[in-house]
Amino acid sequence: MKAKKPKLAVFKLASCDGCQLSLLDCEDELLAVAGAVEIAYFLEATSRIVKGPYDLTLVEGSITTEHDAERLRLIRKQSKKLITIGACATAGGIQALRNFADVAEYARVVYARPDTLKTLATSTPVAAHVAVDYELRGCPVDKRQLLEVLNAFLNGRPPRIGSHSVCLDCKRKGTVCVMVAHGTPCLGPVTHSGCGALCPSYTRGCFGCFGPSASAHPAALRPALTQLGKTEAEVARLYATFNAAAPAFAAEHQSLAKRKEPTT
């Protein structure tokens, strides 16, 4: 490999660092990745900073401040390919719960001096601000999928990452359906594949960490969830987590919130 190695940058916006940590978590493959790219900007791994432009940029986190929005525009300008990683960057993350509430009230509850705070009323995905070349889902992202995305971009091919439901992965693995056979509420039928159907493999229901699948239809899952004893408020709560602002999930918990209103 005499050709110049592509420059990789990893940036962080409003997030917990868990997704970029997944890259460091690729213990066995990390050396191969480090050999294939020049790590030009990755503060979690090294304080050595190489100036842009970058060939491949990974962005973690959502936009919650005007400052980050501006920073993101600069990142985009310096990046040939920009890939967003994780629920924050692709859907706004758990902090997007503010989109459905009063952020000023949140600030008053949490901070002694909310007047020192400069924050936006919403938490929005990166793609709402700049053009994105690929979105990798998950809270956190799956390290095998992260490697696949890096591999695909380095080899100039599309990533082989399905947008089907978790159910298809359960069935390929031969995992017995926790919802049908055990009566455990599960978001698998509406959730994007990616984790390898982890929770059902341990006889737990899916939490929806990877957000809605391409065909997600939460309204059709509602009768099954309520039949298993979930109240409508509890069903709404299931969708108001890491991917609360992903359109299909947001539509479901907001539609249930509206139904609740007359009684409250």
Binding site: M1, E29, A32, V33, A36, L147, E148, L150, N151, A152, L154, N155, R157, R160, G162, S163, H164, S165, C167, L168, K171, R172, K173, G174, T175, V176, C177, M179, V180, A181, H182, G183, C186, G188, P189, V190, T203, S213, A214, S215, H217, A219, A220, L221, P223, A224
Partner: protein, 373 residues
């Protein structure tokens, strides 16, 4: 055809004999709250005293209150996954100098004995045989895995509320070819009445030294699938069904079922005849090699019909229609039979509880269609 008696206490010997002959014995076994088909080592692995309750979208494994071994209805797995495997590498391509070297993935030789196959399971397997090795488009990987298989059927005495094999003509009595067919009798001495259907079956019976079954036992055994048939209440009217469905492709029922359908792919994955796959290519990080993998796929997945520019069936309505009409209508033209064996798996394992017999009945009623359009 002679009929033999196998005492329950000697069932383990049948399994041991098959294993001694080098066969992996794939049979019902309880796992994670369901009776699944998997490789077993002895009769202790069978679902002893276990049964099930099934209804649309619901399955519970339950204690039967007796020691029956085959006292359940089919569970979420089918024998399909032994031959048409869920995920496999097809080949690897390596760069050698300036050329590409293709290295096909060999199929591991595996002799398989299917113990406890129901009538619906066997018809499903024949249907898959027709699709995957029945004409010039042969799937050699499937054919290799299917090449040395012993079929030991069990005539069904315990259908579930989801079953409708009587409508599809696939059970509860298991029609041949099979090597052996067992009927379980639990009243009195726990025993199996054994029919032989091949030289292999006869060899197994001789090896075990079974004695002939008595006349009364033969009568008791014959009654088991008859009683099972009488207990099946779910029906699908198959008369001209394919044509009736094909005439009603714009039926409003498809839009209605799309409101309930999750497009989660469960029905297709539990179906013993659904055979669709996708291929995925992977590369080494440095581009020195690539691999092609094949995985089970589903016509309910949005990407399944993706071609340049977008998916051919973007709506769930279109995808449900594709599945229903392929299974019950166009399968006839393509493969000369119905694609449905009436096992009821798609009904039980649909999280939304959608019932194929109900949807087919609605779509297949032309007069209703005219009224509602």
């Amino acid at each position: 055809m002679d009929i033999w008696l196998l005492p329950r206490a000697r069932l383990g010997e049948l399994i041991a004999t098959l294993r001694a002959r080098g066969y992996d014995v794939v049979a019902p076994t309880p796992r994670d709250g369901a009776i699944v088909y998997d490789t077993i080592e002895s009769d202790a692995d069978l679902p002893i005293g276990l049964g099930d309750e099934q209804s649309p979208g619901r399955y519970r494994m339950v204690a039967r209150g007796d020691a029956a071994v085959f006292g359940y209805a089919v569970g979420p797995t089918s024998f399909k996954r032994n031959f048409h495997v869920p995920t496999e590498r097809l080949y690897r391509v390596e760069r050698v100098g300036g050329a590409l070297r293709f290295v096909p993935e060999p199929v591991a030789a595996r002799k398989v004995a299917l113990l406890g196959a129901r009538g619906c399971d066997l018809v499903a397997l024949r249907s898959l045989d027709r699709v995957l090795q029945g004409d010039r488009y042969r799937d050699e990987r499937y054919a290799a895995r299917r090449s040395d298989v012993v079929l030991i059927a069990v005539h069904c005495g315990t259908p579930s509320a989801s079953c409708f094999c009587t409508s599809m003509g696939t059970g509860p009595r298991a029609s041949g070819p099979w090597d052996l067919a067992l009927t379980e009798l639990t009243t009195g001495q726990h025993r199996f009445i054994v029919e032989t259907g091949s030289a292999m079956g006869l060899t197994l019976v001789r090896e075990l030294g079974l004695r002939a079954a008595g006349t009364l036992d033969k009568i008791h055994a014959a009654k088991v699938p008859i009683a099972a048939a009488e207990s099946i209440t779910r029906r699908l009217e198959t008369d001209a069904l394919g044509a009736r469905l094909a005439q009603n492709l714009d039926h409003p029922r498809f839009a209605k079922v799309a409101e309930r359908c999750l497009a989660c792919t469960n029905c297709t994955q539990v179906c013993p005849t659904c055979f669709c796959t996708t291929v995925e290519d992977h590369t080494e990080l440095d581009g020195s090699a690539a691999e092609r993998h094949r995985r089970w796929d589903s016509c309910f997945d949005l990407e399944f019909s993706y071609i340049h520019g977008g998916p051919v069936r973007p709506s769930v309505r279109a995808r449900y229609r594709q599945w229903l009409t392929h299974k019950l209508s166009s399968w006839h033209e393509q493969f000369g039979s119905s694609g449905c064996v009436g096992c009821g798996r798609c009904i039980t394992w649909c999280p939304a509880g959608i019932d194929i017999t109900e949807e087919a009945r609605e779509v297949g009623s032309p007069r209703k269609a005219e009224k509602t359009t």
